[in-house]
Each structure stands twice: as C-alpha cells, then as structure tokens.
Symmetry: C2
Subunit: 121 residues, 2 copies
C-alpha cells in the first residue's frame, strides 16, 4: 500500500480566509489544524484544555492579561487551560494548532469570529 | 510577565544522540518531543495510541508491513495505534513527535534502543 504524507504547505495553499482553522490530521481524539492569522482575534479561554500554537510562517503574538509571547516560524507555545489569551498578527502568519477535537476557536467568548464546525482539508 | 516561546532549532541544538526523544512541551497529558533519526529503528507498534511524526529537517521514511511513507521537512504522518512500523532515515533527520506522555519509543518491541524515561530539554 502507498501511504501519503500530509504536506503542510500544500494544505496551507487550499484556503485563504483568516481565523478559521482547518483540520489536517487526527491523533486519537486530538486534531491538528492549520489556520492563518491576520489582525486581532478576540480575548477568550478554553476551560477544559491546553492549546498548542506552532508558527509555520510569519510572526504572531499571543497576548495575556499579564504579558505576551511572540512567536516566529519554528517556535511554539502551549497556552494553559483556562488562561485568557488574544492572538494577534500584524501581517499574515500561518500556524498549526493542536487541541482536542471539538475545540471551538473562540472558546468561551463566542462572537462573529466563531467557527463552530472545523472542516477537513 | 514575559512568556518564552519554545524554539525548535535551539532545542534541537541541545542534543546529538539518535532515536532518544526529548520532551519540549506538554499539552494536557500529551508530550511534544524532538528526536534525531539516523539509520534503521526497530519494528514496533503502540497498542494504545496513534503517534504523530512531523519532519522538521531532512528526510525519513516509515516502513509498514504493507508499504511505506516518505516524509521530508514540512510533512507529517499519523501512525495509527496498533500498526507495526519501522522508522528509517538514510541521513540524519530531525523530527517532532506528538504522543501521550509515557509512550515508549520502541512500543511493544523493547530492545537496546528503548528509552524508558524521556528527559525534558
């Protein structure tokens, strides 16, 4: 049988919208998602889970109520469960997220940027 | 507070041995690990969990009993639970693994390449 790798760049080329994560892989009950950030996201938290951000291309920041972390390509960060955060990218940044299947992008905050149903690409 | 990103290249520079995964991050009860592959690993499987391979630098393959997958930098693959596999890299390849904390590198196979206790770097 011929198995196919998941190529991140090819997957990133399949969409152009911002803030709406797309699923590219599943490991147990976790999803690996790609997302493009540009501008300001909303303050939110995820009560039940940590959330991993891996910067693939570009630069982004995650603001916290008491500080922030800057990420560039090749850097990652784990936002602990329950901690309020606000992603931000001055210019477009391409990111891989790792989190439990069903995790909502805006967490507890809701609002117009909410993507209830993540799609596979 | 000043939060620090996890820089993959800096972490990779901290070790030179092959086949012994080092932990760089924890998300819930999962670990993100870096590992350097060169040569042939052993056939093994993980009965209880899928396992994610993300190639960061170089090229590697994962052989299965009925085929194989080739990964180069920027590509990933999820080995399903229970499926026998054998990682292989002709030249050194740098990889990120994602799997539950406590996952043993040689799975059910044991042997001299087993790293029972993964260390944090």
């Amino acid at each position: 049988m011929n198995y196919s790798p998941i190529n991140l760049e090819e997957k990133l080329d399949k969409f152009a919208d911002h803030w709406a994560p797309k699923i590219i892989a599943q490991m147990n009950d976790y999803h690996f998602k790609l997302v493009k950030f540009q501008g300001d996201f909303v303050w939110h938290s995820h009560a039940d889970t940590d959330e991993v951000f891996i910067a693939l291309d570009g630069e982004m920041s995650i603001e916290f109520r008491d500080g922030k972390v800057d990420l560039k390509a090749g850097e990652m960060f784990v936002v602990p469960r329950g901690v309020e955060h606000k992603p931000f990218a001055k210019e477009e940044c391409k990111i891989m997220l790792v989190e439990p299947a069903g995790t909502i992008n805006t967490g507890d905050a809701g609002g117009e940027l909410t993507t209830e149903e993540n799609v596979w690409i």
